[in-house]
Point group: D2
Chain length 395, copies 4
């Protein structure tokens, strides 16, 4: 029935030509791309026909003060690349950066939790499951050894098991250095599985048993963490809140309380924030991350408290930021340039800067909403879209 197989075409150009003819369309714009076809094929994509171009903007500079991360991160101004098609986002993050800078900078702390892979094993019965669990607990060094033979850049940190009925779930946590690591840990865990299957009566049903849990929102990732767990905070003087954000510490604290806490509670949410996902998605797109990890990046909490001196303590908590600075799409040309623009030295710094950008984005959007100016901003954008004229930016 279906004769055409896009894989059989020798090049992106031939595939495009086929599709243009078959569908009577033009793919002129898609045809332009500046990465080598042979670099991406079989590594980043299949059935390549060209590229999608996302507008790339830069927010910042962002000032980060001494925190938990490496010393050289301290006090350096950072720029934040954001690939997005949603107007106002870059301007909004920039405004947040300005408020942070005028407050003396943000502090940020990153914990390497580890990237996880969570196979599910079928066992004969509860006894069989508990025996397999015990074998895993007793043989951690053996399992670690066999997994670590698959790569020089991977360390098995721990394994957490849970049993229900005839199902044993095992959550493997790995340190993959600068890589996001999902591919690496799949390969490593496969070795562990083969060992476990050989030594016990358990039979693996899937190397990925959703106890990872990858690219889904889940309390397990919120509670136990996944990838990096990051905290960022800033103490904003009243003046910075007033002059840059055009609102007051009281109003920011109130909107966080009523919206991010109570509103999210009333919605049964795992995100207690304004729009973590916006900033995470835009930085991830710009820097070659797996876009689906935006899901984990949306988890977390924004807090705001007015201090006794009237200043504002403002923070974000991201329990599950999954990213890398090598591998995946990070080596593609535009993505590589964006990473260099961030000036990050490794993935912990990457997580730190990303989360502080999230802090900036939360500050600015919440301030807009607190002042009722969000609708006005959108109205401005809407007018721009109709009139097709360039406007002054909206924040």
């Amino acid at each position: 029935m279906i004769k055409s197989n896009l894989r059989n075409f020798p090049s992106a150009q031939k595939r495009r030509e086929f599709l243009e003819q078959e569908l009577d369309i033009k793919l002129d714009k898609i045809s332009g791309f500046n990465f080598p076809e042979e670099q991406v094929l079989g590594r980043n994509i299949e059935n390549l026909i060209g590229s999608t171009q996302l507008p790339l903007g830069v927010a910042g500079p962002l000032l980060i003060r001494p925190g938990g991360v490496k010393a050289h991160l301290r006090g350096v101004l950072r720029y934040i690349p954001l690939a997005t098609t949603e107007g106002a986002l870059v301007a909004s993050v920039s405004r947040g950066c300005k408020a942070i800078a005028e407050s003396g900078g943000a502090e940020v702390f990153v914990e390497e939790v580890g990237i996880t892979r969570g196979p599910v094993f079928k066992v004969k019965n509860l006894k069989g499951g508990l025996e397999t669990k015990k074998w895993i607990d007793d043989h951690f060094p053996d399992i670690a050894k066999i997994t670590e033979q698959t790569s020089n850049h991977l360390t098995l940190k721990k394994i957490g098991c849970r049993l229900v009925g005839r199902n044993l779930f095992a959550r493997f946590y790995y340190d993959c250095q600068e890589a996001m690591g999902m591919n690496m840990v799949t390969i490593a865990t496969q070795q562990a599985i083969e060992l476990i299957e050989k030594q016990t009566k358990a039979k693996c049903i899937s190397v990925a048993g959703n106890f990872d849990i990858d690219k889904n929102s889940a309390w397990l990732n919120f509670i136990s963490g996944r990838g990096k767990r990051v905290w960022a905070e800033v103490i904003l003087p009243k003046s910075a809140v007033k002059e840059v954000l055009k609102t007051t510490p009281q109003k920011l604290a109130e909107i966080v309380y009523r919206k991010c806490l109570l509103g999210s509670i009333m919605s049964g949410s795992l995100g207690f924030n304004a729009h973590f996902a916006n900033i995470v998605a835009a930085i991830f797109a710009a820097t070659g991350q797996d876009l689906a990890h935006t899901v984990e990046g949306s988890l977390g909490i924004t807090t705001a408290e007015v201090l006794d001196n009237g200043n504002l303590h403002f923070s974000v908590y991201l329990p599950s930021l999954v990213a890398g600075t090598i591998g995946g799409g990070t080596s593609l040309p535009t993505q590589q340039e964006a990473l260099k623009l961030m000036k990050v030295n490794g993935v912990l710094e990457y997580a730190a800067v990303t989360s502080t950008a999230v802090l900036a984005g939360e500050l600015s959007l919440l301030a807009s909403e607190a002042e009722g100016s969000l609708a006005k901003a959108h109205q401005q954008l809407g007018r721009n879209q109709k009139l097709k004229v360039k406007s002054k930016e909206v924040f």
Copy 2:
């Protein structure tokens, strides 16, 4: 302290030049883009410096049978544009498409739930909250009228209120025709808020009170829906499962049960699926959607049941797919071409094709995992990355 303001530079080129000098980097690749600078500025982005290029592949063709959507969708073969940097994704969706085609096609149903905006009002006390709620309930036509005056392309469908303490949350559902609509509904809801504030004693704290709930994972979106609610299914003959997916109906049903149901339950997840987010993110990136809506798109359930005749009933359910075919990034050149490549006539068809692509992606990945070939595929990819040679595709 910070003197440079990226907004003050007159063009993307000038901004790049500043950053290149300031940071001692090169932004050669980013500099290339084929959308008009004046088209995107103030509408899609601020502080533009260029573009991010994502590799674009095509999966398919995908065969959709008569279902709940418009008649002309039926029986037409569709191609699926996927912008991604994650190897194997396009091949995997393609394989799923093949299995669907060999099974006579998938059936898909789309329900327009409506895009939501959920302001939070501060009220004096419970009585004040209930009175405001009653006023809203009693004056729905007035509220609808005032919101609908903000756009010819917007209809207010319903409002759901919830009260807790001194907080009244109102969830406005709108039909925005072909647009995703978040900007439109912010403007419309702002009008409703002004009316409500005038007629009652409630005071709006935020036009977006996280009762929307936008770009966060939440049970409210899962249960009540947001954007489009979509179901897709396929009945796979044993032969198609065997020949295309290299596994059996029994194994697919088992992995869905142990991984997507039990594994997700054990993780406290709102996603009971393998990787909805992968396919949603890649199509969204290719077609100019808001990438952060990948979060809502990750919600949902995959089911698999072996029928009495040995065939496999396989389905996906996406309660909260948020997208549009006009507005946002959809009019950018490469995104516009990708939309045309999909041959969709409006957003309901777009949701239908996207969700059926999700169905294909679930089928193929779960089949790989059921056969233990996922690790092998990743190994192949890993080797490709090391050797930097083009490989034959992995599925």
Copy 3:
């Protein structure tokens, strides 16, 4: 293998005698009960051997001001029967009642949401599911009629359907007047099911498909409500907080923020409160409710806000309080007396008084915790338990 069948013994006494001999134990205390054996057998219990005696205390009086419930509830002092074995609970609720009374009384609002029964139907495919859903939507009057023929005390309010794969879930909401109604709605829904099965191709798998969802914690009950949805609030002058609760409005607001909101968020909870379940369980036990509905009663939110004048706004929200004043265990002798002691005229008043008692219990425990006196109270209780002496009460 097992010869003894407790059902075959003619009386509680004979069963006790058998067990005493078989197990070499004494059941002297259990043997005492003051309800007629023939009243409870086959209605409240099987295999009766006697009774469990729970200590019954009384908290109050509780002052309720004009609110949403019937006029005669207003301004009347209420006493609250609490059957419990947990020391300090009655004293704590009493202290809360005192604080409420000194603040001029609490205000309470009750909404009849309806008791639910949620069957699951197996359907052939998505199309079959949507057709069945449409039939149900189109024939609501017919379904209502057939269900209402099963009882004069039951009204079908609405039905909400959800489809996933080959499963159609339908949530029936009923008004059962003064009864909790689970048995009634099971019978009524069974009639509806038979009609639906006859008119469509759907086949019911269970009259109770966990879309009710009964005696389990679930966001559906939190969001959509179940049984009664209740709000109660009190405005406490600083003086009442200080003199009765020995703390300050600021401290109470702070503990609610850090514990009930942030602490519950960090725990992935559906309860954003201190101990709703304690008060609900104790009143339910005293008044013949189904104890397992304590689960639904534990859901909800406590809020606290310091007002501009320094007073404290304090409230509770219970979205899912499931109870009745006739049927079940309510007609048993001690339970009936406890209901009369509450002086409630029907189930809405019962829900109102119960929830206001929850308000009192929250106030007092949170005040104790805010002042660090909880441990001291427990220490006192512990000493009492060791020394077996009567102490002065701890709050």
Copy 4:
């Protein structure tokens, strides 16, 4: 305003007399109780006026095979005391026990997770929070020592910390031997808090910061466990399913899949079971447990799988069963007799028998629902209630 203070009356009798006169009611039945007034006052209750009598039935015998618990539990028949007012519950659990016995018995495994107390500390900023966390991690032996000085029956097992904004949450896990232990661990944790406050700059806001999380449904308890984590299973031959449960393995597996898994998923539930709470509440009431811990006991999963030989693997998983066999209400006369009737040697056995009773209850109710006989049973009960005649039992 309120002159009467129930605490000032010298006895239950005087309080009753006051209430009878004040409210013009009779409390004749409540007046009867067979526990010493001085035993319960100040330990189990305040403002005592008498007792609530719950009908007590016995289910069983229940056959438990060799499992993870102590050897002497193996192969012994157990009787299960159930205090309830809900007709059919005892009969239903009994029927489940019969099915288990005819299948050769159930297997049960208990893990002592530990009872938790989770204070919340206010810290100056993120750095302060991480420093306090580090101090706690580094001084676990000191903290353990000081907590264990408060009781000879308590061991501190571990502490898990989480930070968000200016809030540090610490979850203390204790082994309290045979006691449920909430009072003990409050006292012990208070000592730890005083040490931490002295050695760090953190300030405790509440000894119970809802990171325990006590008497609320929460994913933290589901994932990390609380009290005891218990698994029970039985392999039912087709014959036992048919003869005792009047259904088939296939139907039981199907109802568990469609109701307990999919139905609970569609409801956003933390309980993936039919009615854990019913059995837990009834045993807890009979044996002097804290009734509010029914909430934690409602969490968990029921699984059912048809084996290759046609038999049924059926299991329950309770991640968070909170109970004790000394302390609280366990020493009251009727409660003490019920505990002796269970013949349990310590709390692990208590948890084992309770969970196996839950297994029995799940089996029987699900079988009834699978056969459509639940409504008939309720109809029978309803008739009984109207006619006030003793019926033959319904299962």
